[in-house]
């Protein structure tokens, strides 16, 4: 949903910015896929994937995310613990003064236009990304780059104006070039699959036989969005499709059967209700803290997410290597929350409008329509907040309206499924100063303490300092929370058991799709399509 996707436009528009940086997720998981080269494929065949709308993202964003995951790669990839690993790059090396980063490319990388991705071409692409204001906001580490130089065939040299600790993270930005012959925005990447068709709610990807990791086994991937989960599931159970990408947690156990296996994995996304920093209702940090104290996150995780998630009390990805679990968190304390609100001068009073309950604080929350999980979370939050005299009203809007109002800042609070990792640069984007041009501060959160800490982390050159600053950052966000943090969530994908899906437990199976194998023959329709 909002906050993910890969589209970037030359002219900055708020409604599109979150998609780009949210596309990091696919690349993250690709780390595992790239670790070994694949042997020759066994039975080439078509794979059909259905993306059910209303289960976590809009159709376009959902499809774009999967297309990006399968077709584009960056120089680096970020592991689930926030560590950087080379991807298209073979190695990265900082100069002694920390002002120059040398990246050596893997040899013999071809892009989908069959042209070699050498240092010169990579540098060109990266220069375009860095020059794009939208990209600079999504990849703040790139904003520190003064120059990109190609040396020889394989070495790219990044000259920075100061030590840029987040640059390696943000070199995970996918490298792609537009297809000059295709007006529909199809791009050439260097991933294992190449998009060949982009029509309506369908995307067709063909395997890229010259992929540097090895020829993918699956010859073709048809990707389609469908209106309901039921359609997707029925198709999967009938054997008409091979995979359904997004499953609500409450259906996973019900649908599990020997012909279909469910792959769950942790996402560095969390459900939260962000405050609009421009609203005076949230000026007092005690109010924001009280609202966080009023939330029983365990109930949300257990009841709504069916235990497929983790309670969230801040924007930092709790699996990041520098995260300090002892730094503190919000405890569910409705009594304390009420007291804090009282101290903030918020008394419970009846409304003149008898359709409204007595409350000390009334909030309106922008919510996207047709997202059942968000609706269930919203009801639970509403119930819990009312216990402390906070009446939150939900403003349910179609996804496009929701997205537009979000990017324009037209909300008081907003419920969102927001990326928060795995790198610190990803966590920083939404919570930097509203004046910055190298962030996406759509929530107008303004906190000099966190701003200073982010800056410190951005130029940090050793892990000890990073750990200290991250701890301080966690505590600063607890002191002055920019949102009601709710829960980090898991995602599940269902794959027909005909396929052998390699990869570590807990990783997105899509990231290893190019290594999937099957001995099952194609369905008749598939064989025809393959011809």
């Amino acid at each position: 949903m909002y906050g993910r996707g890969v589209q970037r436009r030359s002219r900055f528009r708020c409604r599109t910015f979150p998609r780009g940086w949210c596309g990091i997720l696919p690349f993250l998981a690709f780390t595992f896929a790239c670790s070994t080269a694949t042997p020759a494929p066994s039975t080439p065949r078509k794979l059909t994937i259905l993306f059910p709308e209303g289960t976590g993202d809009s159709a376009n964003n959902g499809l774009a995310q999967i297309v990006s995951l399968l077709s584009q790669e960056g120089l680096t990839i970020i592991a689930p613990d926030g560590r950087v690993q080379p991807r298209l790059a073979e190695s990265l090396k900082w100069s002694d003064d920390g002002l120059e980063l040398s990246v050596t490319l893997r040899p013999n990388i071809l892009m989908h236009d069959r042209k070699k991705l050498d240092a010169s071409r990579a540098a060109d692409i990266l220069r375009r990304i860095i020059e794009d204001p939208n990209s600079r906001r999504m990849y703040p580490g790139l904003a520190d780059v003064d120059a990109v130089k190609a040396e020889g065939e394989r070495i790219i040299r990044f000259v920075v104006r100061r030590h840029a600790a987040w640059l390696p993270d943000d070199l995970s930005a996918p490298l792609s070039v537009p297809d000059p012959d295709n007006p529909k925005g199809i791009k050439f990447g260097a991933g294992p699959y190449q998009i060949v068709s982009n029509e309506g709610n369908t995307r067709v990807l063909q395997r890229f036989v010259q992929y540097y990791g090895g020829e993918p086994s699956i010859e073709r991937v048809d990707l389609q969005s469908v209106e309901t989960l039921r359609i997707a599931w029925a198709s999967l159970l009938r054997g008409e499709v091979d995979m359904v990408t997004d499953l609500p947690p409450d259906t996973v156990e019900l649908i599990r059967n020997p012909n279909v296996y469910i792959k769950s994995f942790s996402r560095n996304y969390q459900y939260l209700i962000a405050f609009n920093g421009r609203s005076r209702k949230f000026t007092d940090p005690r109010i924001r803290r009280a609202l966080n104290m009023a939330i029983d996150r365990e109930t949300i995780v257990t009841r709504v997410l069916k235990s497929s998630g983790l309670p969230a009390t801040g924007p930092i990805w709790p699996k990041h290597w520098a995260y300090d679990p002892s730094a503190g968190s919000y405890k569910f304390d409705p009594g304390g929350a009420s007291v804090l609100l009282e101290k903030s001068g918020l008394q419970v009073h009846a409304s003149a409008d008898e359709s409204l309950p007595p409350a000390r604080l009334r909030l309106t929350c922008l919510v996207p329509a047709r997202f059942s999980i968000i609706e269930q979370i919203a009801l639970e939050v509403q119930r819990q907040l009312l216990e402390v005299g906070v009446d939150i009203h939900f403003d349910v809007q179609p996804y496009d309206v929701y997205n537009d109002r979000l990017t324009r800042g037209d909300f008081e609070t907003v419920m969102i499924d927001l990326v928060g990792g795995p790198s610190l640069s990803r966590a920083s984007i939404m919570w930097r100063s509203p004046k910055r041009s190298d962030a996406l501060p759509i929530f107008s959160y303004n906190n000099p303490v966190t701003e200073a800490l982010f800056e410190s982390l951005r130029i940090s050159s050793n892990e000890a300092n990073t750990r200290v600053d991250v701890r301080k950052l966690q505590q600063a966000f607890l002191e002055s929370p920019p949102a009601i943090f709710l829960a980090w969530n898991d995602r599940a994908r269902a794959v027909r058991s005909d396929f052998s899906v390699p990869g570590e437990l807990g990783t997105d199976p899509l990231t290893t799709l190019w290594r999937w194998k099957t001995d099952k023959p194609d369905r008749p329709g598939d064989r025809m399509a393959n011809r």
Binding site: T251, L254, N259, E375, R383
Partner: protein, 582 residues
């Protein structure tokens, strides 16, 4: 006897097995039926509980004077508290939403004409929602502020799936829930869950067809049971489970059916195993009983069998056969007596053989003495006479004839003895017996005349061919005629006749002699048996052997004082005169 003992036992065993098998099958059906019944009750209770919840929520709205926000909170809190209700909406009588548990717009309305009534609650047909869960819309009237409202709830029976999933009968048995319209709502078998999505028409199911045999349970719900193949559906591939034991129990309030299915192989595994074990046990018991009976019986019957075998052996001439009877009872005494008897028989036989041999030897010796003494004496006399009449030319000729004749007599006697011991091989040519007999009779006319007898012939017309050795046949005929001469007193008559009878040629040699007593007729062809006062008694024995060698038979009829007739019978041959000539 053994069969008489075993067959009733076997029949009893088979009847027991049959009865046990049927009993066990009934038990399996009953047990599965109980499971289905309990599941039906649970589901009924589960749905009823949801209806009660809705009633309870409605009661909180009924004339309680709640403000709109309170009604909304009530609905939302209820939706959170009872997750089966994915939406609760209060509408006016026209169906316009007043408040809803949803954070967006209400999505449900009062069920239409296809709904059923459970008390005062209207219930839409169950369908499958986006999460693939069976879902229905329930609506209950609410009176508030003097107006009639409707509380509508969308109930998603997630727990129904869990309930059905939890039902396991054995390893492979599972439950299904089907609506009255034949819609599959839940399937407990993981592989078959897709059937829910595929909208399988369950009305084809053997237990749900209108023709399926039905029983009425205590609560009036329809129940059915049966065994059927898993390929009952014409649209779905069967699951290779083979035969299925299926039972159904109804949920009258909802019109649903709970089916419990289990592969027969597994359902009846217990009874089949028990049946197998019982069969083996019965077989072993029978075998043990037969073995014990056999060994006891053998110990009793064996001596009798041994005695029987010994008696048979004795009857067959095996006089060395003895029986071993160890027992000291009557059978033991009988065995000892049998062995003593056999010993005595051996002694008697040996004695008899010894006496027979002595008698034979005596007879042979007497014959030899007699037969040899005459020629030797004649030769001796002739030798004495030649000394005196050596110059008599005529006598010398007579001496020569006498010696030659007597030597011939001795030689013939010796030949007979040799022939008895080792028959001379005969040749076989077509011969005309009329011609042969004519020659023999001509040569013997002188002897007949000398003996004062008449030798006459009565030969059938035309040649009579048989296959044989002319010399041997002549010898037999000559021997018979000579015997006839010797048995007939002077003045008697010896007649030789030939005749044809069917495919045989017959030769009769009849005399008018003294005849042979009847008690000796049976042995006259034996070796060394004779009625004459002189001779070894080998003539007829040799004649019989020769005739049999030529493929014929020899018979005798005789009447003392009237005469004797020997009849030779030979197969006729089709030989032609040319062949004969050649």
């Amino acid at each position: 006897m053994a069969a008489a003992a075993v067959v009733p036992l076997l029949a009893y065993g088979a009847a027991s097995l049959y009865s046990m098998r049927n009993g066990a099958r009934d038990q399996v059906f009953k047990a599965n039926q109980n499971i289905a019944r309990r599941a039906a009750e649970q589901i009924d209770q589960y749905v009823s509980n949801n209806i009660r919840i809705l009633r309870s929520i409605a009661a909180n709205l009924q004339e309680t004077g709640l403000q709109r926000w309170q009604q909304e909170r009530l609905l939302r809190n209820s939706a959170l508290r009872f997750p089966e209700f994915t939406e609760l909406t209060l509408t006016d009588e026209g169906g316009t939403a007043i408040v809803t548990s949803r954070i967006g717009d209400a999505t449900i309305t009062i069920p239409g004409s296809d709904s059923s009534k459970v008390g005062d609650i209207m219930m839409s047909p169950f369908s499958i929602d986006d999460a693939l869960l069976p879902t229905a819309i329930l609506a209950i009237p609410v009176n508030a502020s003097g107006s009639r409202l409707w509380l509508i709830g969308r109930v998603s029976l997630e727990e129904l799936w869990r309930m059905v999933d939890r039902i396991r009968v054995g390893q492979k048995g599972f439950a299904l829930v089907v609506t009255g319209g034949g819609r599959l709502l839940a399937h407990g078998e993981p592989e078959s869950k897709s059937l829910v999505a595929q909208r399988l028409d369950m009305l084809q199911h053997p237990l749900l067809r209108p023709s399926a045999p039905k029983e009425s349970a205590a609560d009036g719900a329809d129940e059915a049971s049966g065994e059927y193949s898993d390929d009952w559906s014409t649209t779905q591939p069967h699951r290779n489970l083979g035969m299925i034991v299926g039972v159904s129990a109804g949920i009258p309030a909802l019109g649903w059916k709970v089916l419990v299915e289990q592969p027969s192989e597994e359902a009846f595994a217990g009874p089949i195993k028990l049946q197998r074990q019982l069969s083996v046990a019965i077989a072993l018991a029978l075998l043990a009983m037969l073995s014990v009976g056999y060994f006891f019986g053998r110990s009793f019957i064996n001596p009798i069998l041994r005695l029987t075998r010994g008696t048979k052996a004795l009857a067959e001439g095996k006089l060395d056969e003895r029986v071993i009877v160890d027992s000291k009872d009557e059978l033991g005494q009988l065995g000892t007596a049998f062995n003593n008897m056999a010993d005595r028989l051996v002694e008697l036989q040996d004695d008899l053989i010894k006496k027979e041999r002595q008698a034979t030897f005596g007879r042979v010796a007497v014959g030899l003495v007699h037969d040899l003494s005459n020629p030797i004496m004649n030769i001796g006399n002739a030798c004495k006479m030649i000394v005196m009449s050596f110059d008599d030319m005529e006598y010398r000729q007579s001496f020569k004839r006498t010696v030659e004749r007597e030597l011939a007599q001795i030689k013939r006697m010796l030949d007979d003895l040799r022939n008895i011991a080792k028959p001379v091989p005969l040749e076989s040519f077509p011969i005309d017996i009329n011609k042969a007999l004519a020659e023999v009779m001509e040569s013997m006319q002188t002897s007949a005349a000398t003996s004062g007898l008449t030798l006459e012939s009565d030969l059938v017309g035309g040649p009579v061919f048989i296959k044989g050795d002319l010399f041997a046949l002549n010898r037999v005929c000559r021997n018979l005629i000579l015997n006839a001469f010797q048995a007939t007193v002077p003045g008697g008559r010896v007649t030789v006749r030939t005749r044809r009878e069917n495919e045989h040629a017959l030769i009769d040699v009849a005399d008018t002699g003294s005849g042979i007593p009847k008690d000796r007729l049976d042995t006259i062809f034996d070796d060394f048996v004779t009625t004459k006062k002189r001779g070894l008694g080998l003539g007829l024995a040799i004649s019989k052997k020769v005739v049999e060698q030529l493929g014929g038979t020899i018979a005798v009829t005789s009447e003392v004082g009237t005469g004797t007739t020997f009849t030779l019978r030979f197969p006729l041959t089709l030989a032609r005169p040319e062949q004969l000539a050649s």
